[in-house]
């Protein structure tokens, strides 16, 4: 793979390209598209977690003013895609695992049992409250602790014990730590409510505005569900108000909206309520994990064991990498891990920022911290003594790894050397003070992308791809890359997204969008350069691409001549140059392992009488390759820290297991951080390019921003108080008792 640029030149900082639209209220999110004859859909959820619907009274709702349709399993139009694929492990087909309104079976509390469509939002909402269902109730199963005691986990290849070296080596090591760690359900809760607007344009064509992180995957899901040609499903997602994973798949409510729009022959807008956001668009599954580590007195890890238990729904197996980091972060010859999931009366979880790694890093990085105290060793030093120089799973070299640099940069910025090693040894204004750190890692990927590029005679470079941006700033990063590649000012580059009619782009997930699409954009710019140089060939003979410098909108030749791109077009009598470009995985990468790394530093103050924990300093250091867009990259790291503060100190989905029903599915009772919880967050990047993964030298960042953060907080609380809290969130009650 050629390197198109000098990777050591940093990108200049730019403002977010969609900033003006966002600060003026002009950015239009899904629910904000107005269509003629628009109708409003409201979902009604079940009030039991397990059983069947025996009767459902829709008469009052049907007679209520403005009501146009009430859809239940009794009258729902057939979704052709639902006829296929009963295998729960398969999932993600036909618009998602739950076949909405397909039968009378209730699988989780809040499962949609009806969709009411009316001419106004108020009328639909009121009519929805009139729906009354009768049930044949069965006992709900929602408690993971009970399931571990009483039930068998799901079997299969994903859940087999994995052993490296000697399975029980940790047991005979001179120094051992062990612990059981609990992480409750956490919920993505992007600020924008999930929403779908569906409009049929004839019998075999549908247009859908959808909150999605994957424009193309949504197009495919809806095409599969309704057996349409993919091109006949038009998806728009110009602005996505956050996702963090909740918009990675097309959920049943979207299928319901499309179904209803077809039945009515009118466009339907369906917006979930905030409580429904807890039940219908995934969550981070509750996990109970046991970890054991054995080490030598000089701090070399001898062996580890990590058992993870998590929940899934009883209609899909949701898997993620809870034990992945334990296998990969430290050099350790002997290891055993086992991942277990239990089917419950819950909706299917889905990847939430830093997915399984964020869950798995909590026990791992707390155990490392505990080990550092057992060994009387600085926690960073302990990690360095077990630094993996090659991938411990397969021995492969890393495409790049600057974790050591990240430890040092972060520690320096944070002032780690001011930490007194003894727990409960630091105080300030009557508060106990604690320093904590941890590290995180996540695979660095590059997938397939495709863009269309057009350079016009007016000097404007437009690039289009069917991706969406839930917030990281994809258009900004792509603009940055194209502007640098072409030597064009940022305002002469226009990156368009959120439209399935554009060439297929990747789903925005797994911290891979910039790596994937940045490659495509770089290659497209290179193709444009070649075409521009070809235009010169009529005037200048024998020009090699390498001899042309592209800067400030012009081609500068070795002979001192220069010609602007637009003049070159004019001379060739061309109104524009258009091309499409695609890029895929880098085959070279088979020889390497590739990861991004983060190191989080946290200073907490803990009140000894009330158990209140306040985080008053955060430094996150990242090895995310070369930073493409400094400002948005720093914001993304800060955002991960804020999410981490939430997970560490306050986020907890609570289900009353007697009813299998949510108790706190709203923002007053499920706490996410507010301004007052968050101090200034400092971010520092190693900012060294990965020379292999992609031509821009970038690696992913969205996940590592969060992974490990909860452990850093728990470790700081231990340092402040001498109390090891192994259950999240760390609320005052847990600190006190």
């Amino acid at each position: 793979m050629d390197n198109f640029f000098d990777l050591n030149i940093p990108f200049a900082e730019i403002d977010r390209v969609d900033g003006k639209a966002k600060v003026t209220g002009k950015a239009d999110y899904v629910a904000e598209h107005d269509l003629p004859n628009l109708t409003y859909g409201v979902l009604v959820g079940s009030t039991i977690a397990n059983g069947t619907v025996t009767a459902i009274d829709t008469k009052s709702a049907e007679r209520a003013p403005g009501v146009l349709a009430v859809i239940t399993h009794l009258n729902a139009p057939k979704v052709p895609g639902y006829e296929e694929g009963e295998n729960p492990a398969k999932g993600r087909t036909g618009g998602g695992g739950l076949k909405i309104f397909n039968d009378n079976r209730i699988r989780f509390n809040g499962q949609p049992i009806a969709l009411v469509v009316a001419d106004t939002f108020e009328r639909a909402t009121y009519a929805a409250s009139l729906i009354k269902a009768q049930y044949n109730k069965e006992a709900p199963h929602t408690s993971l602790a009970d399931a571990i005691k009483n039930d068998k986990p799901i079997e299969g290849d994903n859940y087999k014990e994995a052993v490296r070296g000697e399975k029980d080596a940790w047991k005979t090591a001179p120094v051992k730590v062990e612990g059981t760690y609990i992480m409750p359900i956490q919920v993505h809760n992007p600020m924008e409510l999930h929403a779908t607007i569906a409009r049929w344009d004839g019998d075999d064509k549908v247009t859908v505005w959808e909150k999605t992180q994957g424009v193309v995957s949504t197009q495919q899901s809806i095409a599969n569900a309704f057996k349409l040609e993919q091109k006949n499903v038009q998806v728009y997602a110009p602005y996505v108000g956050g996702g963090f994973g909740s918009a990675l798949r097309t959920w049943p409510h979207a299928i319901a909206a499309v179904m209803a729009a077809k039945k009515l022959g009118r466009p339907v807008k369906l917006v979930l309520t905030r409580p429904q956001m807890f039940m219908l668009v995934g969550y981070r599954p509750e996990a109970i994990q046991h970890i054991s580590i054995g080490a030598t007195p000089d701090g070399k890890i001898v062996g580890m064991r990590h058992d993870a238990y998590a929940v899934t729904s009883n209609y899909e197996n949701f898997n993620e990498g809870l034990v992945a980091q334990t296998k990969q972060l430290y050099a350790c010859a002997n290891l055993a891990t086992k991942y277990n999931i239990y089917p419950m009366n819950l909706s299917t979880p889905t990847w939430m920022r830093g997915p399984g790694e964020a869950t798995g890093s909590f026990p791992l990085e707390c155990a490392l911290d505990e080990l550092s105290y057992a060994l009387n060793l600085d926690p960073i030093e302990l990690r360095k003594r077990n630094y993996a120089e090659t991938d411990p799973e397969n021995g492969k070299p890393y495409s790049s790894k600057f974790l050591r640099e990240a430890y040092d940069l972060g520690a320096e910025k944070f002032g780690w050397k001011g930490r007194k090693p003894q727990p409960r040894s630091m105080e300030e204004d009557g508060w106990l003070v604690g320093y904590g750190m941890s590290s995180g890692m996540f695979g660095a990927f590059r997938g397939e992308g495709r863009v269309r590029l057009k350079f016009s005679g007016d000097g404007m470079l437009t690039i289009q791809s069917a991706v969406s941006d839930s917030g990281p700033g994809t258009a900004t990063a792509m603009t940055r890359i194209a502007s640098d590649a072409m030597g064009l000012p940022v305002n002469k580059v226009n990156f368009e997204l959120g439209n399935s009619a554009f060439p297929p782009g990747p789903t925005q997930g797994g911290s891979s969008t910039t790596s994937t699409l940045g490659t495509t954009v770089s290659m497209a710019c290179d193709s444009l350069k070649k075409k521009l140089v070809e235009l010169l060939k009529t005037q200048e003979s024998e020009i090699a691409l390498a001899d042309v410098q592209f800067a400030q909108g012009e081609m500068r030749l070795k002979n001192g001549k220069s010609i602007s791109y637009t003049d070159a077009l004019k001379a060739a009598n061309l109104p524009s140059i258009e091309l499409t470009e695609s890029s895929g995985r880098n085959p070279e990468m088979q020889k390497y392992s590739a990861y991004s790394y983060s190191v989080h530093f946290v200073r907490v103050k803990v009140h000894p009488l009330t158990g209140v924990v306040r985080i008053d300093k955060v430094v996150s250091a990242g090895d995310a390759g070369r930073i493409i867009s400094e400002k948005t990259a720093a914001s993304q790291m800060k955002g991960g820290a804020v999410g981490g503060i939430g997970g560490a100190l306050m986020e907890e989905g609570v289900i009353d297991h007697r009813y299998g029903r949510w108790v706190n599915n709203n923002f007053a009772d499920y706490h996410v951080p507010v301004h007052a919880d968050v101090p200034d967050v400092e971010v520092v990047f190693v900012n060294k390019p990965d020379p292999v993964l992609n031509p821009n030298g970038s690696k992913g960042m969205g996940e590592i921003a969060l992974i490990g953060f909860a452990a850093a907080v728990a470790n700081a609380v231990y340092h402040a108080t001498g109390k090891r809290i192994r259950e999240l969130p760390i609320t005052p009650d847990k600190v006190l008792l």
């Binding site: 209220g25 239009d28 917006v271 700033g473 914001s635 991960g640 804020v642 923002f667 007053a668």
Partner: protein, 209 residues
């Protein structure tokens, strides 16, 4: 109106006749009675028609007067978004728990999701769409861009409307004060540090008009 049963479910179990009777009785004792627009009295069919009384509503939104009629249950948020198509004001929770719907009513920041539209008669509403003058952004809008005070942008209009008020109220004197007085605006992307930077900068430059 004679076609309805006495147990018509559409008005909470009350028959429509008694419903109307009740309304009339109420109107008689009011010192300042609203003029009720009764679609029912215009003999419109209830299905799809304006069955319930609507309230006349005169409000000014971003300097523009509106003369409307709304169902009493319509919130200011839904009025702005669904009827006036001013979708810059966001619905994040609908229960007063997130601040995304923050607007100014007579210059004060309030939550439009918990405000009944009908109760805003005679009031001046300012939304994010009314903050900039033409192409000239409000200093806070500019500062939010400069400091990258958002990612997905969904909470941003509420944050900015709240921030404008926060400075005006004199609650932007320190970072701690800004954080406390902005805590009614949740940002799930975690742009808080950048938002505080933006507010501090504008407050220190002498605030806003």
């Amino acid at each position: 109106m004679n076609s309805h049963t006495e147990n018509d479910p559409c008005c909470g179990g009350q028959s429509r006749r008694s419903f109307l009777k009740r309304s009339t009785a109420t109107a008689a004792i009011l010192a300042a009675p609203p003029v009720l627009v009764r679609a029912a009295e215009k003999k419109l069919d209830e299905q799809g028609a304006e069955y319930f009384e609507k309230l006349p509503l005169k409000i000014e939104v971003n300097g523009k007067p509106f003369s409307l009629s709304v169902e009493p249950r319509v919130t200011l948020l839904d009025l702005l978004r669904e009827q006036l198509h001013l979708t810059g004001t966001k619905k994040g929770c609908d229960y007063g728990q997130c601040g995304a719907c923050t607007v100014h009513v007579d210059g004060q920041r309030v939550l439009s999701c918990l405000s009944l539209a009908g109760m805003q008669d005679g009031k001046k509403i300012t939304t994010i769409e009314g903050l900039a003058s033409g192409d000239d952004l409000h200093p806070l809008q500019e500062a939010f861009i400069r400091h990258d005070g958002f990612q997905c942008g969904y909470c941003t209009p509420g944050q900015i409307m709240s921030a404008v008020a926060c400075i005006k109220e004199g609650h932007a004197g320190s970072d701690a004060e800004i954080r406390e007085y902005m805590s009614g605006n949740i940002c799930r992307c975690g742009a808080y540090p950048n938002i505080v930077d933006a507010i501090r900068e504008v407050a220190q430059k002498g605030g806003v008009k």
